[in-house]
Amino acid sequence: MLNRVLISEWIKVRKSLIWVPVLVGPALAIGTGLLDVSNNHELKPGTNLWEWMYPMLVSFYSLIFLPLLSGIFASLLCRFEHTAGGWKQLHCLPISRTFLYFAKLLYLIVFIGVTQVLLLAAILVVGFSRQIDDPIPWALLVKGIAGGWIASIPLAALQLSISAVWKSFAAPFAINAIFTIPTIAVINSETYGPYYPWAEPFNAMIPSGYGTFNMLPGAFYSVIVGGSLLIIGLGCWYFARRDVHS
């Protein structure tokens, strides 16, 4: 049955506007990367230019854009049903609501994943256009990209839970924005920086020494894994049991 729900979601998604933000993010990364030409920084001889360029390209992307993007995707995924009174029709059909929630969550995670892969392509494009001769640090890049993807899963689950319940497009986005903005200040703090959920994409994408996707192991297991399971469980439970009025 999950298969059929996934196929029906695909029919809704394939002609919608969701593809626009998928392309916008990496394009933005390319744009800001190519513009940064004039700042000639003092570099120690022997630094890998890729490793120098990568944090500059992804810092604002992972700090602000990725959390907000997960919110935009979640709202767009739920928009089909909100606009045409579709929730009522959908819940009348003999489809398990849990499967419906998981199908939307799966699509949401896949969209974020596609955006991350396109970001990797964008980084490579910027590097080649700047004619960087150093060897490409694949381990660093892949760990950062995959880390950013996994770190945004709890945020995506939260956004999906809120968007499925509220009809307005802007209200879940407002909540997302309210929590995203303080990350600029939070990442400066050593005690709270690693644990703040909206700062996790930034922590994960900027290289540090840790093994678990650049995040502190404690933060990874408690916030990402534990948080994801908690939010998905609660969101799915509430979604399956709510009374639909609109």
Partner: protein, 237 residues
């Protein structure tokens, strides 16, 4: 006439959380900075150093994205209300000048954000006072509270125009988010781009302010009027 338009828009706004958002934005920025300063006091407040400059710089870094996201959200909600309730046809069928309708929405957007700026300026002053950083440079504080908003008037006009013209608010919000990212990378971007104006107009560095502020205000008013003129010509489906 315009008074009644403003009043009717106000009635619609009463049921939304827009006013709360306009108040919460600057309060949140001040609170986050307050917490950060409280936790890292010795590192951030050094006697003899330019503490006000550092405080204003830190607040500015948070205030501009909040302002831009707030503009995006408020514009989207102002226009989205009409799109969602399908009330555009009703509104435009009334014997009211279309330009005045559009300018009424512009006025509410500007008014709400002016309130935000007042709260921001007051908050910065209070924050500095409670942190014990004397004396309060009032001109810089007022500059920090109001100038990013005034310099961002073109962005206000553009966001409102997109939200009104395109029914799907996702496009307007994505555009707004892209604008926030653009504003954060203001060093590499051309100086005439409207999105870099707010970041340059900070109270911490008053030398840069006047050209960006002036261009922002003038361009903003021009874009508001242009938007109203285009709105008048628009056909309603």
């Amino acid at each position: 006439m315009i008074g009644r338009i403003l009043y009717s828009d106000g009635l619609k706004l009463k049921r939304t959380f827009l006013v709360l958002l306009a108040v919460l934005g600057p309060c949140g920025v001040i609170t986050v900075n307050g917490i950060r300063y409280a936790m890292q006091y010795p590192k951030l407040v050094i006697t003899g150093d330019d503490n006000w400059g550092r405080l204003l710089g830190n607040v500015h870094l948070l205030l501009v994205p909040t302002l831009l996201l707030g503009i995006t959200l408020i514009a989207s909600l102002l226009a989205g209300m009409e799109h969602q309730g399908h009330t555009w046809e009703l509104l435009l069928a009334l014997p009211v000048s279309k330009m005045k309708l559009y300018l009424g929405k512009c006025a509410w957007l500007t008014g709400l954000l002016t309130g935000s700026s007042i709260i921001a300026a007051a908050g910065i002053a209070l924050l500095g006072y409670f942190l014990g950083i004397e004396p309060i440079p009032w001109s810089k504080v007022l500059m920090e509270g109001f100038d990013p908003f005034l310099a961002a008037l073109p962005i206000l006009a553009i966001q409102l125009y997109i939200s009104v013209m395109v029914a799907n608010q996702a496009i307007a919000i994505t555009f707004g988010v892209v604008g926030v990212i653009l504003s954060m990378s203001y060093h590499g971007l051309p100086h005439w781009l409207p999105w870099v104006y707010p970041m340059w107009t900070t109270g911490a560095d008053p030398s840069n302010v006047v050209p960006y502020l002036g261009t922002g205000v003038v361009l903003g008013i021009v874009l508001f009027l242009l938007g109203a003129a285009f709105f008048e010509k628009k056909e309603v489906k």
